[in-house]
Amino acid sequence: MSKRLLVGVFESEDDTLAAIRASRQRGFKVVDVYAPYAVHGVEEAMGLAPSRLPWVVFALGVLGGGLKVWFEFWTTAVDWPVNVGGKPFNSLPAFVPVTFEVMVLFAAVGAVLSFFFVCRLYPAKRAVLPVAGVTDNRFAVVLEETDSTFDPAEVGKMFEKLHAVQVDEQITGEVA
């Protein structure tokens, strides 16, 4: 399904933030915001829900640590117990360092892979930019023209008042 989008291009983070706030105040749907760096306060302005990634990381860390404790116990005390200097086969305290490392490994690798997955990032993916320069020095606020009450000319004027350097109308099925 194609969508009609209105893209306002800005030169500074303050203008971008003002544009997002103004658009949301007037009830427009902010599809996405593009920025060359992580601007403080955009997620609050856009009203994005907090990311659930920390829970994924926590779960994977617990899983990795748990699996590793079981594996160390199973290899050293069950599968082939070897007497090393008379130490008990199940030497739990000695298992702590490796358990910690494996927990970190699971959590970190899991964090990165799930980030790639939820953001649909993969090698050689063709990047879809709303306008050129959003990876350099431009900020873009993308609104969806949801219904006939949306007047692109009027919203364009609002953007220009907020120092937009360019306002574009796009029809696409790809962005967002």
Binding site: P54, F71, E101, V104, T135
Partner: protein, 458 residues
């Protein structure tokens, strides 16, 4: 307005840059042809790398007998170099993870290069234990995989196995942290590249990053998670390295002070190495506006802090030996300071405790050549610290009949030089092909220390 401006902190980035200028300043040197100076540096580093490669090929084909080891001193030069390089890496994680958690925004100018240093240093470190296995082609036996020997599993009670897990986790996490931090910059390179190969390559690795804020939001979360995981990780890595020694019963090694002492020493030497590299990089790549004297000043303060911790540890070791009432323990420390390797011990104390005291003076911290010289001396001192800890304890243990001297052979020295060659070759290649400064992060601190009104349009 004047008073308001004075009350602000000084800006982190000098020269009043615009956002586009930051992109240009960092990317332009990569797109231009390399300078003659860069080629000379690369050729020298690469020659050392080749020397090291030849030495490694020789010692693998002939055996570890090419080293100066004997029945008393069973490991010396290789483990010294291993601990030295791992320690170097730790400052990179300190800057990228710990300073991030402490919200030290000045780190943005140096974190990319510091993380690169971490990764390259861990690579250099990894060479030594692998060769020391004697049969490096069986190095994978350290990994607990189901095998036809039983399955006979690795001994999870052994600090050497802990070390294997710690180092490989550390390398993986550091590399991922580095790559995630680089993702937006790779997209910047992709979108401004004119050369086709550069656009293709950057396009392959930038994973289709387009600056969408839905991605930025999760990016920030993942970065924070990795920093939070990296901080205890880096402390665990050098703690485990110190356990390689502390779990042995040898006097001079068997000490509970080792983990904090080693971690502080690692950050101390690593910070000196970051400063060394930054001082070179800011000159070579003309980044004086980004890596300012203030950055150098702050890193110097970290050097003097960790120097203090290391000095305190040296003193504590002597006190513990005295207080222990153990004549073996007391002998080891007297032997370090006054025995056959006394010159190494005093090089270590001189370079690690006395020389850094100069950094108390603002004038010294602001004079770059002096900082450079101090940092080189710190690294010399920290290399000697590991050498002294390892060799003095081993060569003179409980029974005088066992005592034997250790001296490295030419093959061992060539391997050490080769590791420096590898390190600097990789670093120089990094300077050419990857933005040395974290562009997207620096853009976020441009406003730091500037009055809010100036950036508005009125």
């Amino acid at each position: 307005m004047a008073e308001a401006a004075i009350a602000l902190r000084p800006p982190l980035i000098e020269g009043d840059k615009s956002i586009a200028q930051v992109t240009h300043d960092v990317c332009a040197p990569m797109e231009a042809r390399p300078t003659a100076l860069w080629w000379v540096a690369l050729l020298i580093s690469f020659s050392f790398l080749l020397l090291g490669a030849a030495a490694i090929a020789y010692q693998i084909s002939v055996g570890v007998g090419t080293w100066g080891l004997n029945r008393t001193v069973g490991w010396a030069f290789d483990i010294t170099n291993f601990v030295f390089w791992i320690g170097i890496g730790h400052a990179g994680t300190l800057i990228s993870a710990i300073l991030f958690l402490f919200r030290q925004r000045w780190r943005t100018s140096v974190n990319r290069a510091a993380e690169a240093m971490t990764i390259f240093a861990v690579m250099c470190a990894g060479i030594f234990p692998v060769i020391h296995t004697g049969r490096p082609w069986f190095a994978y036996w350290m990994f607990p995989y189901p095998n036809t020997r039983g399955s006979l599993w690795v001994n999870f009670r052994s600090p050497l196995v802990w070390d294997f897990f710690a180092i490989s986790t550390y390398f993986t996490v550091s590399a991922m942290f580095w790559f995630i931090g680089m993702l937006p910059d790779l997209a910047t390179i992709r979108d401004r590249a004119t050369a086709k190969w550069r656009r293709r390559l950057a396009g392959l690795f930038s994973l289709g990053w387009n600056g969408s804020y839905r991605a930025w939001q999760r990016y920030e979360v993942v970065y924070l998670m990795l920093a939070g995981l990296g901080t205890p990780l880096v402390i665990s890595v050098h703690t485990i390295v110190s356990w390689d020694f502390a779990t042995a019963v040898l006097p001079g090694w068997h000490a509970t002070i080792f983990p904090p002492y080693f971690v502080a020493g690692a950050i101390f030497s690593g910070m000196a190495m970051v400063l060394t590299l930054m001082i070179i990089a800011r000159k070579l790549m003309r980044l004086e506006d980004y890596i300012t004297l203030r950055h150098i000043d702050r890193m110097c303060k970290l050097v003097i802090t960790t120097s203090g911790i290391v000095g305190l540890a040296y003193g504590t070791e002597f006190f513990t030996a005295l207080y222990s009432g153990s004549s073996y323990e007391q002998f080891v420390f007297l032997n370090r300071a006054l025995g056959p390797l006394f010159w190494g011990y005093w090089t270590m104390v001189g370079c690690n405790v006395f020389v850094p005291q100069l950094l108390w003076f603002r004038r010294v911290r602001a004079y770059v050549p002096a900082v450079f010289a101090i940092c080189i001396l710190v690294n010399v001192g920290m290399w000697f610290e590991r050498f002294i800890i390892i060799v003095t304890s081993l060569s003179r243990d409980f029974i005088p009949a066992n005592w034997f001297h250790y001296a490295p052979t030419r093959v061992e020295v060539a391997t050490l030089l080769g590791s420096f060659g590898l390190f600097f070759t990789l670093f120089l290649l990094f300077c050419r092909f990857i933005p040395v400064i974290a562009v997207a992060e620096v853009k976020g601190v441009l406003k730091y220390g500037k009055p809010r009104l100036e950036s508005a349009h009125e």
